[in-house]
């Protein structure tokens, strides 16, 4: 066991993949000489050289598309996009090419690439660097969408994602990079299919992912003091959703609160809520509740930003409102 940050866990995962497979390379803005805008790739240029730690111009569509082409050509690219907001400049390549080529070609063309990007708010970087748009990507058939919320997942999800013959998007919540935790010295493989129950409980199910897992766990801790045993489900994989894990949890606890930093309307939380309603309706003792980001472009001022994103108190209040 050793103490490690989320950032270091991602870096270790990249490093291991590059050592393990010559076809793996990293490409993105400032990944090389700068060391990564979140310092994830710091030191890798010196170790692996500029062919494999490849700085790109500010051309999101160009280098994401080049990643797709390189994957078609036999490589295993890890493409880093600075933030999910910038990924909008590469939407054409992700949605029209990466997600469609296998299908459009009748099964001939696989796109085995990984696109990593930071998502989420909490760092006062306002409305063009803070949004949680992973739910949009989870809407797209042909993509796998992952949200590592723990140090273990940050370390373990990259390799299976690279082994997937199809495109995988990994969303790293920006507020997690400095989070410290324990990681076993012997890294064991993690799956990229299943949701995980992070805390067991019998009174209510709190569904969260990525940056909101911490909020959900803190709320569960507080609720325990109030005599409420909350179960916390970490979705982990946003597409395909592991519906059985959260539905069977709700079937046991009879109440559900979905926590999502993304906007409520047309969101991932809406999808989770709909599936619970479709599949566990008769097990519910109360309507499904949601705690979501306020429907505003993210404001800069700290008090406003805090108000705009799900807080522990909001989750606790939502649970109590269900009668738990």
């Amino acid at each position: 066991m050793s103490k490690i940050t989320y950032r270091e866990a991602v870096r270790q995962a990249i490093r291991e993949a590059m050592i393990r497979d010559d076809r793996v390379f990293v490409m993105g803005e400032d990944v090389g000489h700068y060391g990564g805008c979140y310092a994830v790739t710091l030191g890798l240029l010196e170790e692996f050289g500029s062919e494999r730690i490849r700085d790109t111009p500010l051309s999101e569509s160009g280098f994401v598309g080049a990643g797709i082409g390189a994957a078609l050509g036999g490589m295993r690219p890890i493409v880093e996009i600075m933030t999910v907001n910038f990924s909008l400049l590469a939407l054409d390549q992700i949605v029209n090419n990466a997600a469609t080529l296998l299908y459009m070609s009748g099964g001939q063309l696989n796109v085995p690439m990984v696109i990593r990007m930071a998502t989420g708010a909490g760092r006062q970087v306002a409305a063009q660097h803070s949004h949680s748009l992973e739910g949009w990507y989870a809407h797209i058939p042909g993509l796998r969408v992952l949200a590592p919320a723990t140090i273990e997942d940050a370390r373990g999800m990259l390799w299976p994602a690279l082994c997937d013959p199809d495109p995988v998007l990994i969303f790293e919540h920006g507020a997690l990079y400095n989070q410290e935790g324990d990681l076993a010295d012997e890294v064991s493989p993690v799956d990229i299919d299943k949701a995980a129950i992070r805390r067991a409980g019998s009174d209510v199910t709190i569904v969260a992912y990525g940056g909101t897992l911490r909020t959900a766990l803190a709320a569960a801790e507080q609720l325990a003091g109030d005599g409420v045993a909350a179960e916390v489900v970490d979705l982990r994989c946003l597409r395909p959703l592991d519906t059985p894990t959260f539905v069977s949890s709700v079937a046991r606890t009879h109440r559900a609160v979905v926590v999502d930093e993304g906007w409520r309307s047309g969101s991932l939380s809406a999808e989770v809520s709909a599936r619970i309603t479709e599949e566990a309706f008769y097990d519910l003792d109360a309507p499904v509740a949601r705690v979501c980001g306020a429907e505003v472009p993210m404001p800069y001022a700290k008090h406003l930003e805090d108000e705009a994103i799900p807080q522990v108190a909001d989750v606790v209040a939502a649970v109590h409102a269900l009668g738990a």
């Binding site: 994401v64 598309g65 296998l102 395909p240 059985p244």
Partner: protein
């Protein structure tokens, strides 16, 4: 990984034999022309649906460039790509079956006219987002670069693509990283229905490539021999490590943009004037003059091609519909993403 040692440069025949080779080029252009003329008939009787973009008039571009490529090279094309597919070696049967939406089609009927794919000939589509294929070509070439393979990726696009950001991003990336891409801009003067002078502040397209320090050559896209000669020279330079090259193939489509297009934006005289430069009669005249095409040769050629087109249509029409149960197949490589929940 240290960069893999580059393989020796494969040799491409640079001096095509005049007579036989000329007839071969003629055959390839005629195959495309007659195939597409049949497509019009099939469209009229609704055997082909959706968008159908014909390259009639532009055949010399696809045929000339393909002559410069080797089997291991890659091709990225646009939604006006029947000619490129056929010239690259996709079977006419699989191509026609695709247009008719049959499972025997080169994309199992998933793509249709705009999305022809074939890994056997390294034909990477069939991209219907203007300029969307350029970054893919850069990436295919990047893979060759990283793996030390001496291969060329030929990337076709129209003049309309030049206005897209992806064009500029791709030019810059390919030049910056010195990648083996042969950019082939088929300048037919219209981005769908809007003439170049209404969309570009600088209508000299080669100049745009030059500004990225990419060697750029202008070619008469109505002269298949000129296209081939220039493409061979450019492809060889790319193959030898000369970095990306850019060809501006000056061409013209004789028919409308698609079957839906009433073609109101072009002067009929302009179209007729370009038809005088039709690459097929021009080559026939030249081969006849050179004695490479004797009396009766053309009729024999036409008869062979008509038989091939008939056979392709018969194959497509005898083809089968993909079973409905396969609707979600190939969304991902694994089982359907929306797995049953219990």
């Amino acid at each position: 990984m240290t960069k893999a040692k580059a393989a020796p440069v494969p040799v491409v025949e640079t001096e095509p034999a005049a007579g036989d080779h000329g007839v071969h080029l003629l055959r390839e252009m005629l195959r495309i022309r007659r195939f597409e003329e049949r497509c019009v008939e099939l469209y009229s009787r609704t055997a082909i649906r959706g968008f159908l973009h014909l390259g009639i008039g532009e055949e010399a571009c696809a045929v000339g460039v393909m002559e410069a490529l080797l089997p291991d090279d890659a091709v990225v094309a646009t939604y006006r790509e029947h000619g490129h597919a056929l010239a690259r070696g996709l079977s006419m049967r699989a191509t026609m079956a695709e247009l008719e939406g049959k499972v025997e089609g080169c994309s199992r009927g998933r793509g249709g006219s705009m999305h022809l794919f074939d890994t056997a000939t390294r034909f990477y589509g069939g991209n219907a987002i203007v300029a969307g294929g350029l970054p893919l070509a850069v990436g295919l070439a990047l893979a060759d670069h990283l793996l030390g393979r001496r291969r060329v990726t030929a990337c076709f696009f129209g003049d309309g693509a030049v206005a897209e950001g992806e064009f500029h991003e791709s030019m810059n990336l390919a030049a910056l990283w010195h990648l083996p891409v042969l950019f082939c801009c088929e300048n037919n003067l219209y981005a769908m229905g809007t003439a170049l002078q209404f969309t570009e502040s600088e209508t000299d397209l080669s100049l745009k490539a030059s500004s990225y320090r990419i060697p750029a050559w202008e070619v008469d896209g109505m002269d298949v021999l000129a296209v081939e000669e220039t493409a061979r020279e450019a492809a060889q330079a790319v193959r030898e490590g000369g970095g990306p090259h850019f060809l501006e193939l000056r061409t013209y489509r004789f028919r409308a943009h698609s079957m839906y297009d009433p073609d109101r934006y072009r002067d009929k005289d302009e179209i007729e004037k370009w038809k005088e430069r039709d690459p097929i009669p021009a080559l026939i005249a030249r081969l006849t003059h050179d004695g490479a095409l004797a009396n009766g040769d053309l009729d024999r050629l036409e008869a062979e091609i008509a038989a091939e087109v008939d056979d392709a249509v018969a194959f497509a029409e005898a083809g089968t519909d993909e079973p409905i149960e396969d609707l979600e197949r190939f969304v991902t490589s694994g089982p359907p993403t929306q797995a049953p929940t219990s």
